[in-house]
Symmetry: C2
Subunit: 271 residues, 2 copies
């Protein structure tokens, strides 16, 4: 599975026996995570990932892991990797049988290196609509916490490898994201993306795209979006930190043949 | 922490190193759990707990653990316990870095025995209102899954030991439950409880109370309830499988001095 893993800085003798049963990550999904691309020994957008991780800990009231120790773990695992995915998980740590956090919580820090995924075909990218919805809860919106059953059940809906991703709505019918990508539309020349005020993850690549768009003087808007916005889009692309920017060519009966905005952003980001 | 634990039927050499980093319970909160009271070597309401566990697995598409193996684990840990809490966790098992479940998933089965909690004082029971809300998602409602950040953050709101539990609303303001208890109100002689169609856990003790009430010819109703229903209640009690039925005496400026319905139910259930 993993190429290598460190748990609180230590390589477990047996990776199948690395965590305590009472780790609150396992008991309650009480933690946050990051997934980043590694190329030539360098973690892409590492500072942004570490900032979001710290913000997630703060939002959940989890003591942030020691930055020096975390960076050391990251360097140890990724320093010699040609191309890989680095995953960091921080849980609230081991605790008694109780939802209540303790003031003495000592977070569990897991850093793991995985093989990089195979490149996506660049010419075709088919999406679908998921039945599974995101529940709305502004208190948990934006951060990359470990309560991910909604995405798990959404991805369980299809087994057709030709479908790369699924678009997900929230329970009120608003567009949120894909299962593990953010989504951008082009509407009359404006780049629009869901504002994620109630659910979803504020992706690192999403932020990079918004920043790059401003530098390129492309008008951008973060706002509530709905399925009819997707149907009206002249272009649709999806983003995450491992795969970068990928343009959709197909969604149900919709087809997109050109992606000039995504092409400009991809060139600008060089990801 | 635990008095004893079995992971897939095996007592780990070191309980601090029992689970794989890649267990989907840890990665995504992808699983379900049960907490039951053990007295004199017997798990109270065991059949009901096993049924809910199996239903939760079915709802999440997790292969249910082998019933004979699970019962054997339960018997091994609880058979000689005077008074304890038995916890069962079933996750979807170890998987690759992907939300997508696999058809070859082999669930992880954890059975653990914990010390029984100290008895609650029976004369006073103060509740509070939580700021934290439950998000609505009917697809996840009712089952006792491992995505429990909402309860964790709700319990983090107070540190006053005099407050036993907190009442939680959903994001639309409907009453759902406490953080780890269901809630019942008495309104003009009728026993009412939230219907939990959008969120919350269908508690084993909740079902026992509803069943007992019918046997006692107490009128019952499962329906949407709101804070004004709490304010109008002549009686309020909370229920779970470890603590049974506990009557509230205090919530903000509200006071309840008698609990005739809870008293009848408690006597009938002998829990």
């Amino acid at each position: 599975m993993t190429a290598a893993v460190l748990v609180n800085g230590i390589s477990p003798a047996d990776p199948l026996h690395a965590l305590a049963v009472e780790d609150r990550g396992f008991q309650y999904g009480d933690g946050v995570f990051e997934s980043a691309l590694v190329t030539q020994g360098r973690v892409r957008l590492l500072e942004q990932h570490l900032r979001r991780l710290a913000l997630g800990c703060e939002r959940l009231g989890i003591p942030a892991p020691d930055p020096a120790a975390l960076r050391s773990d990251v360097q140890r695992l990724s320093g010699s990797a040609e191309r890989a995915v680095l995953k960091i998980v921080v849980s609230r740590g081991i605790g008694p049988r109780s939802y209540r956090p303790s003031r003495r919580d000592r977070p569990t820090r897991v850093v793991a290196l995985y093989p990089a995924p195979l490149p996506s075909p660049t010419t075709q990218l088919a999406l679908r609509w998921c039945e599974m919805r995101f529940g709305r809860n502004a208190r948990l919106a934006g951060i990359k916490h470990l309560n991910r059953l909604e995405q798990v059940l959404a991805q369980a809906e299809w087994h057709d490898d030709a479908i790369v991703e699924g678009l997900m709505l929230d329970t009120e019918g608003e567009l949120v994201s894909c299962t593990s990508n953010n989504v951008f539309l082009v509407r009359e020349g404006v780049l629009v993306t869901p504002d994620l005020r109630f659910c979803g993850v504020l992706g690192i690549m999403r932020a990079e795209v918004l920043r790059a768009a401003k530098e390129l003087s492309i008008a951008v808007s973060e706002e509530p979006l709905w399925p009819h916005d997707v149907e009206a889009a002249s272009e649709l692309f999806i983003t995450n930190s491992v795969r970068g920017i990928r343009s959709a060519t197909e969604l149900g009966s919709l087809r997109w043949n050109a992606a000039p905005v995504a092409d400009r952003l991809r060139a600008a980001l060089d990801f």
